[in-house]
Structure formats: structure tokens, C-alpha cells
């Protein structure tokens, strides 16, 4: 009886893990799309000479929960005027504010690179930096969209098959 219960648990966990992984790309795409929306707002705020803290707080107001926490955190930290360079504050906020997002290291690195140029000289340079990040997001979302259906099936099958394998081995 205990053995059967254990098998059911293992099987259910593996299937759920597979389902979770199959949805992860979708959640990442949703996060990236939100960041893209934020960057478009940021670009227009820069065009109209809003300061970086003002722009980030304004973005956090206009985004849905998820990645908005990062913009709120960064905007608030910069408003407090710590004795640090903005790139350092930006990096710290990325770590804290996006810790529970579905973004992967590659995405965070792209945002870190953006943070190194943000707030510097020249509106055009600022806008170009934001455009670069948007281009990265677009290419990633396209890539994920292309492989989403295939990966969904793969993760679910691997989850179920893995669960079955472990169950068989346990029996």
C-alpha cells in the first residue's frame, strides 16, 4: 500500500514538474514582454527629459505586478540618493527585484548592460541603449515563441516518462 502511494506521488510530482517546465517559457515571455513595455515607456520618459528615478517610478505605476517591483525598487533607491553609482544600484535592484521572475541569466545580463549606460550623457545614446535591450527582448521572444510548442510537449513527455521510469525502478 505504501509502495503504491509512493509511486503515485513520484509519478504525480514528475508530471507536475514537467508541466511547470512546459509553462516556464510562457512565463518568461510574459516577463520579457512586460520589460519591453517598461523600456518603451522609459524611452519616451527620457525623450521628455524626465529624470531616471522619476521615469522608473512612473513605469512601476503603469506596469502590472511581476516585474513592476524591480522598477519601484530601483526608482525608490535612486530617489534616496545613496552614495553609489547608478549602475551599481541598478545591478543590486535587478538581483533583488527580479529574483522571483522567470527571467534567466542571459536576460538579466542584458538589463545589467543597459544599466551601465543609463543616466549618462546624451539622450540619443540613452535611447540607443534602450533600443538595444528592446531588440534583444524581441529576438528572445521570437525564439521562445518558435520553440514553445515543441518544448511544451518535450517537458511534459519527459516529466511523465521520467516519473514512470522512477516508478518502475522503485517497483
Amino acid at each position: 500500500m505504501v509502495k503504491i502511494l509512493g509511486c503515485v506521488l513520484v509519478l504525480a510530482s514528475s508530471v507536475l514538474l514537467g508541466i511547470y517546465y512546459s509553462f516556464r517559457d510562457g512565463y518568461r515571455m510574459a516577463n520579457l514582454s512586460e520589460i519591453r513595455k517598461a523600456l518603451i515607456i522609459l524611452k519616451s520618459e527620457i525623450t521628455f527629459s524626465a529624470t531616471l528615478p522619476e521615469a522608473l517610478l512612473s513605469i512601476s505605476d503603469r506596469l502590472e505586478a511581476g516585474v513592476s517591483g524591480f522598477f519601484l525598487l530601483a526608482g525608490t533607491r535612486l530617489t534616496e540618493k545613496p552614495s553609489e553609482e547608478s549602475a551599481v544600484i541598478w545591478r543590486e535592484c535587478l538581483k533583488e527585484g527580479l529574483a522571483h521572475s522567470y527571467l534567466v541569466n542571459e536576460d538579466i545580463e542584458c538589463l545589467e548592460r543597459l544599466g551601465e549606460t543609463l543616466g549618462g550623457l546624451g539622450k540619443t545614446a540613452q535611447e540607443d541603449g534602450v533600443d538595444m535591450a528592446i531588440m534583444y527582448i524581441d529576438s528572445k521572444v521570437d525564439e521562445l515563441r518558435g520553440s514553445e510548442a515543441k518544448n511544451k510537449k518535450l517537458y511534459r513527455s519527459v516529466g511523465a516518462a521520467g516519473g514512470l521510469l522512477i516508478t518502475i525502478l522503485m517497483i
Binding site: T51, S83, E85, G119, G122
Partner: protein, 319 residues
């Protein structure tokens, strides 16, 4: 917190913050200027003259023991001065300064990037000069009655004349405050944000309840915009001198609105905006010229002159 403490907390980075905060805690008073130069002793001009400041904020006698700002201190400070948004302060940087809340003006020196004979940007900033704005409430009381025919009425056209650093802006600000408290609508064209000390819409200085401030707008445009849109009784602008500013001032004189302005000069015979002074004095009722000089401290009133250039003032200091 005093002005030095405010500057240390929000507009100085790295070791500079520690040094200035220490000096503020140490009770340094009458701060007028803070000089920050790369790898050179940190200096504060305050009551008692120029002082070298050590890393912990203590006043030291030898420059060798003073704190020497690093490249990182200056770069973080520049970010703080510009609210981490140097792109949004390009125009100010091109003009060589950034104004921070409280009306303090921070001059910049470094490598200028020029194009077609004009400065387009500044790189490798290596020196900062904080000019601490002084708000001296009541300093205008000494002259206000000499500037008008009857109390409560709009003042005569007035020009405040002095060399730099003698209290022109301080006196102008207090005259605005007095008139504004008397219920006159005062339009303030504050191109550099030094009169109202405004940034992000928050006024740092007391200009009274009836002052409308146009911040960051070139004076010429600002004076015209206020004249057309805000129905002012008085328009105030600081440091007139350029040809187009004098034209805008003339439009105000002809529109029946009182003009209170300031200009660089050492006296009524030596003033950059001499042509507009002549017009102010020739107006009906005739205008006034207030001349300030540098005594033991800024703000010494040398005279309030009428159209015959008679000195109506008995003597004293602005603040």
C-alpha cells in the same frame, strides 16, 4: 539640517559626502562656497574665510592634511547632482553649471566638447564649485519702501546692480517674497532655478503665496510667457545682460507691468544692462537702482538711486 548638511546628504558622493557631512555636524556656519577639485584639498568658504576640510569633516590648517576628492567621488557626485540623469541636464552642463534644490548653483569644470564654436558637452569633470544660495528673509525690508510710491502698490521698475557674489539674487528673492505676501501677483522668470530654488516643481525658497515661477525657461521667453499668460503685477528676472533679454525687459516696461531685475555691474555708471537702466530711470514714475557691494560679508547696500542718481539710502547691509 543646514545647507551644507543638505548638500552632503543628497549631492555629494563617496568620501566627499563623509567630509561635508562631518563639516556640517561640526557646526561650520556661513558657508558660501565649496570647492571640489580632483586630487586637490577640499575647501569651504565660510565665516572666517577659506577652510581646508579633512576626510572626517574636521577643519585643518594645512592643505596636505585635507581630503582630496578622487575621480570616483566626482563622478558619483555628478550623477547625484543630475539625479542620475545627466542626459536631462545637458543644457545646464553646456552652460557650465547645475542648479540643485535650494537654489545652490554647482559650477563644473572639465574637458569641453565643442562643435562649431559652441560647447556641446562636458567630459572628465574634474572640478565642482558649489555656490551656496543664501535665503535672508527680511533683507528686502531695508529698501522696499524706497522702491514704490505708496505701500501696497506695485513697485517702480527696479534694477539691482552688483558684482557677482554680492547678494543680488538674495535681495531680489526677498523683494519678490515681500510683494507676493502683500498680494501682488509676481511672475518670476527663473532660468537657472536660483531664485526659487525649484527642482521638480518644489520651491526650495519662500517666495510668498502669490508668486508664479517659470523655471528652466530662457529669460527672454520666460518674461514674455509670464507677461502673456499669468497676468502679473510684477515680473522679476535675475541677471539681465544679453541683448534679447533687454528687449524682453523693454516689452515689460511698455506693458505697464513692474519689472524687478538684476544685472552685473559695480555701480550705476558701470552696468552691463546700462541701456535698460536708462529706460527704467526715464520712466514715469521713474525707476530705482539698488547698488550692492562687498563689505565684510555680501549684501552691503551702497545705495538706492533715483532718476537723478541721488542716493536715497542711509546705509546698511542686506543680510
Amino acid at each position: 539640517m543646514n545647507a551644507l548638511g543638505d548638500i552632503a546628504a543628497g549631492y555629494a558622493g563617496g568620501g566627499l559626502r563623509e567630509a561635508l557631512a562631518g563639516a556640517a555636524r561640526g557646526g561650520l556656519t556661513g558657508v558660501r562656497e565649496i570647492r571640489v577639485r580632483l586630487d586637490k584639498p577640499l575647501t569651504i568658504r565660510a565665516s572666517g574665510g577659506d577652510h581646508f576640510i579633512a576626510g572626517d569633516g574636521v577643519i585643518v590648517k594645512e592643505g596636505g592634511r585635507a581630503y582630496k576628492p578622487t575621480r570616483k567621488d566626482i563622478s558619483v557626485t555628478l550623477e547625484l547632482l543630475a539625479d542620475y540623469s545627466i542626459y536631462a541636464f545637458q543644457e545646464e552642463i553646456k552652460n557650465g553649471f547645475i542648479t540643485i534644490p535650494g537654489g545652490h548653483r554647482v559650477g563644473l569644470s572639465g574637458r569641453c566638447v565643442c562643435e562649431g564654436g559652441a560647447v556641446t558637452a562636458m567630459k572628465n569633470v574634474s572640478g565642482l564649485c558649489y555656490r551656496v544660495a543664501g535665503e535672508v528673509i527680511g533683507c528686502g525690508d531695508a529698501v522696499i519702501d524706497l522702491l514704490r510710491v505708496n505701500k501696497g502698490e506695485s513697485p517702480r521698475h527696479t534694477m539691482i546692480i552688483s558684482p557677482p557674489g554680492c547678494g543680488k539674487t538674495t535681495l531680489l528673492r526677498d523683494i519678490i517674497r515681500i510683494l507676493s505676501h502683500e498680494g501682488l501677483n509676481v511672475g518670476v522668470s527663473d532660468e537657472r532655478g536660483e531664485i526659487a530654488g525649484t527642482r521638480g516643481g518644489h520651491a526650495g525658497m519662500d517666495l510668498g503665496p502669490s508668486a508664479d515661477v517659470l523655471e528652466g525657461c530662457p529669460k527672454t521667453l520666460g518674461m514674455h510667457m509670464l507677461l502673456r499668460s499669468m497676468s502679473p503685477d510684477v515680473i522679476a528676472a535675475d541677471e539681465l545682460g544679453r541683448e534679447e533679454e533687454l528687449e524682453a525687459a523693454r516689452d515689460i516696461l511698455n506693458a505697464g507691468v513692474s519689472l524687478i531685475c538684476s544685472a552685473h555691474g559695480t555701480g550705476v555708471a558701470d552696468v552691463r544692462a546700462g541701456r535698460i537702466l536708462k529706460e527704467i530711470m526715464g520712466f514715469k514714475p521713474p525707476g530705482r537702482a539698488v547698488v550692492l557691494g562687498r563689505g565684510s560679508r555680501p549684501g552691503l547696500i551702497l545705495g538706492v538711486y533715483d532718476e537723478q542718481y541721488n542716493n536715497l539710502y542711509g546705509g546698511g547691509a542686506v543680510g
